[in-house]
Every structure is written in structure tokens, then in C-alpha cells.
């Protein structure tokens, strides 16, 4: 059984079928990508995985269990974290608080601990703050720990979202267009970061428009067009596929 698998997943919004019978398997430790033109259903696929939407039909398997239809917080607890296409940081919390909020699901403080600031609360807060600072360092934001997320430059915000997602100790990290709005230098750094995340033992599944980045780091790519998977394979295979070229450039005369 695969580590992560979409199995014949379909999502229809009324008459509009956003994702149609898509299957895709990812092995532990891979960097896998999903590409496709705007409106191809990529983000919908992510939203199905994290529980924002419930699939109309089909199965989603993760680490030996079915997760289709689970609530987002439960999916996160099981070990899947994500970033968002249009950054959704906690704008007026500091960078370190954003990451600490990401640790929430791995913390054990109960209502009483929060209310009375028990020794358990104190020890945990200290450990979580250290963990958050380590993660900020990992993504290169240690100097911005006390800045509001809102005040960070765009590229930093994307990195902060990654740090916040990593705070929940995910086994699978979903990155929704992580390179959007980045300059070539930032994209280079991002590729290094994604590889470093994989080397920490987290499997990475990304959606991206930037072909240079996708072809460079992905071991496996699926191509979506109008909600359907039209191709799957290594970067070289995908690049050579006639249907992919057609989807992106249109039919030749």
C-alpha cells in the first residue's frame, strides 16, 4: 500500500466537476508535484486531502488509513500539513507565535493548565518556543521572530507559512504554489529549502506553476487539465508528453 494515495477521487460542485476520477500515489520520502493550467483542479485536490472539501466519490489514503471526509484539524493531527496559495498567516501574531500556533496539535496543555499556568504549561510553552525558534532558523527567519507576519516581505511570508506547517511535525507537507511571486534568487533558495525538508524525513507534495522549479526538484509529476489527470511520470516523461504540451500551448494546427 502506498504511503499516500488519491484513488479515483471526484469532486463535483453542482454540475461543475472540479476534480474527475483522479488517482495518484506518492511514496514516503518523495518530492512529488501536481501541475496544470489555471482552473485545472489542483487546489481543489489539496482541499480534498486536508478536509476542507469532502470528495463526491473516491478514496484518499494516508499511512494505511482512509482520510477522505476527515475534518482539517484531524487531518493535521494525523500528519498532513499545508501552506496556502494565497498566504493565510495569522497576520497580527508575531512570526514565532505563528509557528507556536502551528505546534498546537502536538501540545498537551488542557484547559486547567492554560487557566492556572501549571508547571506542565510552563515547561511546554518553553519547549514549544524553542522548537518554533529552531524552525524559524531552519527557514532562515530567525531575525524576524518578533515581527508581525503581516509586516514581513512576501517571500518571507511564504517561508513563514512553511515553518508554521512544519511545526505540526507532518509526515506529508502540501505546498500550494510555494514559488508564486518569488524572484529567481528566492526560487533557488526555495528549492534548497524543499530538499532540506525532504531530507528531514518529510514527504513533499507540491502544486506549482513555475516549470523550472517543478522540473528541477520533483521526482514525480502528475498533470491535471480540466479536472482530469492527463499524464503522470518523471519530469522527462512529462515534458515529452504530447497531451501536456497541448494542454499548456493549445492544439497545433
Amino acid at each position: 500500500m502506498a504511503f499516500f494515495a488519491l484513488k479515483n477521487v471526484t469532486k463535483a460542485f453542482g454540475g461543475l466537476v472540479a476534480v474527475k476520477d483522479v488517482s495518484y500515489e506518492i511514496e514516503r520520502g518523495q518530492i512529488a508535484a501536481m501541475i496544470g493550467p489555471n482552473g485545472a483542479g489542483k487546489s481543489t485536490a489539496f482541499n480534498l486531502v486536508t478536509g476542507l472539501y469532502v470528495p463526491t466519490s473516491g478514496e484518499i489514503e494516508f499511512d494505511g488509513r482512509s482520510i477522505a471526509g476527515e475534518k482539517p484539524d484531524h487531518v493535521c493531527r494525523l500528519g498532513i500539513a499545508r501552506t496556502f496559495q494565497n498566504i493565510r498567516l495569522f497576520a497580527f501574531m508575531s512570526a514565532v507565535e505563528n509557528v507556536m500556533a502551528g505546534c498546537h496539535v502536538r501540545m498537551g496543555a488542557l484547559l486547567w493548565d492554560s487557566l492556572l499556568h501549571t508547571p506542565k504549561h510552563k515547561a511546554e510553552e518553553k519547549a514549544v518556543r524553542e522548537k518554533a525558534l529552531d524552525l524559524l532558523k531552519f527557514v532562515g527567519l530567525e531575525r524576524h521572530a518578533d515581527d508581525y507576519a503581516h509586516n514581513l516581505p512576501y517571500g518571507h511570508q511564504r517561508r513563514l507559512e512553511i515553518a508554521r506547517a512544519l511545526a505540526s511535525d507532518p509526515q506529508l507537507l502540501l505546498l500550494d504554489e510555494p514559488a508564486a511571486g518569488m524572484n529567481p534568487r528566492e526560487k533557488e533558495d526555495l528549492m534548497d529549502l524543499i530538499r532540506a525538508i525532504r531530507d528531514r524525513g518529510t514527504t513533499v507534495f507540491l502544486i506549482e506553476h513555475d516549470m523550472g522549479l517543478v522540473m528541477n526538484i520533483s521526482e514525480k509529476i502528475a498533470v491535471l487539465d480540466h479536472g482530469e489527470k492527463i499524464c503522470e511520470g518523471t519530469p522527462a516523461q512529462v515534458r515529452a508528453d504530447a497531451r501536456v504540451i497541448e494542454a499548456y500551448l493549445g492544439k497545433s494546427a
Binding site: 497576520a91 501574531m93 496539535v105 496543555a109 493548565d113 487557566l115
Partner: protein
């Protein structure tokens, strides 16, 4: 960790006033003044509770007086001749807080999917339903007459009578605890979860925060503070009736938060102190003062007009509140450039069109 440089003179002033409060009855022997402060304290506890729901978790609640009513009636029913029950006061403080918290969950549960205006309207409805229910459950609550001759607290054989001083110390102690608990919550795992939900609920859920439990915890904990103040209120007045918990109580408490600064605990204290003193002291005194020169104006009748003026002025000149949190200030500041940019754009467009 204390960082002494972060404290401004005005912070020290608040600390000094707070430190002086226990000695006030020794200096000021006017029972009327003490009574004003006891009432201010009751409202302050309500404001601390509402601040958890509105300020911390960002859930606009316009029916908060409902929990105040529930706290007051809980004590009134079991400590008065109504049913011949005379439960002791002290455990009832905790029990009423629990009862109010349970109703916080009951009333909070149906609103979980609602946000913003919709949530406000539903909570407004609850705020109306609860006093109406107490009004109509005649055999339990005494209907419009309410419940009277409620027991007053006793401690070591000392009976709290008409003297407001023991109530003053009671309220002072309860308030100190309320502030400590509220501040603990703010800087905890749960407080961070509330903040995250207020900032972006969908992102919070994706970070593993169970938004259902976190919101219910906010409703329950927020309500529990009004349970506390309800017990004190009932025993102080020795009378509860449905008209004490009308919509204007919810609005008064909310106005205190807006005046002081939502989400900021010093703001809550300052806002509720100012409005309470205006309400219970300045307005009646002003009426008395003009009466001495032969004018008969009851300024307390103009209370809500004054609140309106104060709130408009705050919104215009200090929208984050008199003692707003840094966070709120930054949020409001961030909104400005967008508005400015939009205005600039609009102005730029006009000449081009007309030329």
C-alpha cells in the same frame, strides 16, 4: 520575563491605583462612593468575561447579559425564601460560574458555524430569550416581581449587611482572580488558539486547532465570569428581576470594551471603570448639582446618548480604545494605507477622465 523598559509612566500609574484600592475604604468613609465602586467591580468582571469571547476569540456576542442573568438567578433560586433553600454563598460562587459556563456551551453550540454579523444577531436573540424566559417561568422565578430577600454572604460569623465595605473587598478579590485567570488564558495554548481563530479560522483549523472546542471554551469561560458577578450582584441587591438583564446591560459591557480597547486587559479595566463611574457617580451627582440651582434634569436618562457620543468619539480619534493592545493598533494602522491608496487612486482617476 519582565522587561522594565517596556513600561510607560501610565502603566505605573495603573499599578499604583490598583495597589491603593485595598486601602481606599480606610480613607474614603463615604458608603455611597464605595457602593459605586462595588457596582463598577461587578461590571468590570462582566467586561473581563465578555473580553474573552469578543476580544480574544473574536466572536461578537450581543447577548452577554443572558449569562449575568443566569448567574444571578442560579444563586437567587437556591439562597432565598423562594424555595426555602439557603445554600451557602461561597461554594455558590463556583457553582454559579459552572452553571453559567454550561449555558455558555448550550448557547454557543448552535452558533459555531456563524461569523460576524450573523453571530451577533443570534447572540442578540439569546440575550432577549433568557430574560423573557425568566419573566414567564412564574413558578420558578417569581415572574416580573423576581426573587427577593436573597441571602447575603457570611464569613466567620460576620454577616454582610447593608454596609458596602465587605462587598468592596469581595469584589476586589474576585476581580484580582478574574484578571489573573484572563491573563493566564491569553498567554497560553488556548489563548493562542483563540487568537489564531480570530485571525483566520480556516488556517487555524488546518494547523490542527479544533475550532469547535476552542470556540465553545471561549463561550464557556467568558460566561463563567458573569456567573461570578451574577452571584455578587444578587446578594448585594438581595433582589433579582428580569428587567435587570435587558439588552442595555449587554450594550453597556460591550461599550466598556470598545472604550478601553478590545482584547487588552488594562483597556478592559480602564474602560469599565470610566463608564461605571460615569454611570453610577458622575451622572447622578450632576443631576443633584443642577437641582441645587433649581433645575430638574435627570442626567441618568441621557446615559445612552452619552455612550453614543463617547463611542463615536473613540471610533474617530482612538479606534483601538483608550488602552488598546499593540496588536489592535497594528491592525488598524495596516488598514489605513489600503484606504489611502484607494482614495489616491480615485482622485487620480478624476482628472484623467475629465481632461
Amino acid at each position: 520575563m519582565l522587561n522594565w523598559k517596556r513600561y510607560r509612566p501610565v502603566d505605573w500609574a495603573l499599578v499604583a491605583v490598583a495597589a491603593f484600592m485595598p486601602f481606599l475604604p480606610l480613607v474614603d468613609r463615604n458608603g455611597g462612593h464605595i457602593n459605586v465602586l462595588v457596582n463598577a467591580g461587578i461590571y468590570m468582571m462582566l467586561a473581563i468575561g465578555l473580553n474573552i469571547v469578543v476580544g480574544f476569540a473574536g466572536l461578537l456576542d450581543l447577548g452577554y447579559a443572558a449569562f449575568f442573568a443566569i448567574g444571578s438567578y442560579t444563586y437567587a433560586m437556591v439562597a432565598s425564601p423562594q424555595f426555602g433553600l439557603h445554600f451557602p454563598f461561597w461554594p455558590m460562587i463556583v457553582i454559579s460560574a459552572f452553571v453559567a459556563a454550561i449555558f455558555g456551551i448550550i448557547l454557543g453550540a448552535p452558533t459555531l458555524r456563524l461569523r460576524g454579523d450573523y453571530l451577533a444577531i443570534v447572540t442578540l436573540g439569546f440575550g432577549e430569550i433568557v430574560p423573557q424566559t425568566f419573566l414567564n417561568l412564574q413558578h420558578l422565578t417569581g415572574g416580573p416581581n423576581g426573587i427577593s430577600a436573597i441571602d447575603q454572604p457570611r464569613i466567620f460569623g460576620y454577616h454582610f449587611g447593608l454596609n458596602p465595605v465587605p462587598y468592596y473587598y469581595l469584589v476586589l478579590v474576585l476581580m484580582a482572580f478574574s484578571l489573573i485567570f484572563a491573563n493566564n488564558l491569553r498567554t497560553s495554548r488556548l489563548g493562542r488558539a483563540w487568537m489564531a481563530i480570530r485571525e483566520d479560522e480556516i488556517a487555524a483549523a488546518h494547523m490542527g486547532i479544533n475550532t469547535t472546542t476552542a470556540k465553545l471554551a471561549a463561550f464557556a469561560l467568558g460566561a463563567s465570569f458573569s456567573g461570578l458577578s451574577g452571584v455578587v450582584n444578587a446578594s448585594l441587591l438581595t433582589l433579582v428581576s428580569p428587567d435587570q438583564f435587558k439588552f442595555n446591560v449587554s450594550i453597556t459591557v460591550l461599550s466598556m470594551l470598545v472604550l478601553g480597547g478590545m482584547g487588552s486587559l488594562p483597556g478592559v479595566v480602564v474602560g469599565s471603570a470610566l463608564l461605571s463611574i460615569l454611570n453610577f457617580f458622575i451622572l447622578p451627582q450632576a443631576s443633584n448639582l443642577v437641582a441645587t440651582v433649581g433645575l430638574h434634569i435627570d442626567f441618568t436618562q441621557y446615559r445612552f446618548m452619552l455612550y453614543g457620543i463617547i463611542l463615536v468619539a473613540i471610533m474617530l480619534f482612538k479606534p483601538e480604545g483608550l488602552w488598546g493592545s499593540e496588536q489592535r493598533k497594528a491592525e488598524l494602522k495596516a488598514e489605513e494605507p489600503a484606504v489611502q491608496a484607494a482614495e489616491n487612486l480615485a482622485y487620480e482617476d478624476i482628472p484623467r477622465e475629465t481632461v
